[in-house]
Amino acid sequence: MTEMEFVSSTLPPRIAGDVTIARFSCQEASEKWLVSVGHSHFLTDRTTAEKVLALGGGEAAGHAYSEVYDAYRKAVDDPETFERFVGWCEQNRKQLEGLAATVDTHALRYRRLLLSAPACDRIAARLGWLFRPSVFAMVWITAFVLMVICAIHRDVHASPGNFWFAAGLALLGIFLHEFGHITACVRHGARQGGIGIGLYWIWPAFYADVRGGWVLGHIERAVVSLGGLYFQSIYLATICAVELTTGDGTLSIAIGISTLLMLTTLNPVFKYDGYWILSDLLNVTNLHARIGSHLQALLASDRMARRRLFRTRMTGVAGGFALVATAYILYLLEMMLRMVASQIGRLPGLWLDASRAIDRHLPIFGEAGLSIARFSSTLLGVALLSLAICLLGYRSLQSAKMVLAQL
């Protein structure tokens, strides 16, 4: 089939959605190019990226479809190369046409958007100045000093405090945390997709959609990843300042919860901020997958290859990561099991209190109600925690099985 016959008889594959390409800075020896199709991002070589770009354009390109070929023919200026391009298009038609609908690789499920991208853009535009380098450094230092002072005075409170109100304050801090990621993303000129909530592993989690951040350099990406903790530190420092002035116990509990959350988010085992910060600073993409395949290669390869692999930087990263991950999962499981045991131990006493209160015909909205509520909430807590333990154990075993299956 000649080139013209091909063009007239078959429509070339079309990639729905906007396609952009850019050179990507990474640790790899060969040059990598970033291909962005809608919200999905791919790494490839330059030639493939240019070919994908030639096929993009979505609905805006209308029906002047053969123009794709014309444009590419002009660009390559070589009939043989062009023919190979036509053949390549046909061979990969299905994959090319499905690029825009590539399955999301993130483990965050049941996502629901809480704040749209345009709304986030408007707010982020007003907060961008917080990421000026001088302001960034000053705020971090001030926040850190305030948090240290607060930690030193943490036992001096004017009032005992309310846990649930404090938890609400901490929750607000998390929402601001997500704004930090979004603001950094917008400030550096990348696209963002709003703030939402979803389920990650076994936990509900807020998220900031900064998938557009892949177009940035790795240091800028690290700022986006740090942006959340940065905003949360500002919030926490404000609470610290008020707590130091008033001695309010609720604020003190809120500081405790927020600090724990911030430390947890730095853990790179799950895909919280620590994972992305580490991945950006090391300038390594798909870190979990890379660590997994490196460990598999180390275990499966022959002696010579293993020695060569062992000397690479990834061995240190993978080894450290595997140790931290195992220790963290075991710690989490142990903590949860210990808590379930202690809560189960409390159940008979709580049940006795509740049944006594009912026997004495105490008003249901008074002591009897409170006893029943205590018993039911503890029972519910035990049930939820047991479910969480089962899920965590199941997911961990699944991951371990996947690694072992590759050996």
Binding site: L34, V35, S40, H41, F42, L43, T44, D45, T48, R84, F85, G87, W88, Q91, N92, Q95, D104, T105, H106, L108, N162, F163, A167, I174, H177, E178, H181, I197, G198, Y200, W203, P204, A205, F206, A208, D209, V210, R211, G213, W214, S225, G228, I257, L260, L261, T264, T265, K271, Y272, D273, T285, N286, M336, R338, M339, Q343, R374, S377, G381, L385
Partner: protein, 39 residues
């Protein structure tokens, strides 16, 4: 097979920065212990 015969693309992870929405998620023991302390 030469480079023109297949499409090789490495899918990058979906970049969703996030934090646990409840303190239970980050520190599962915390709310219960506080609940016990408060009661």
């Amino acid at each position: 097979m030469n480079e023109h015969e297949y499409l090789s693309l490495e899918i990058l992870e979906s970049r969703l920065e996030m934090e646990a929405a409840s303190s239970q998620a980050a520190a599962p023991w915390l709310p219960f212990e506080c609940w016990c302390d408060n009661n």
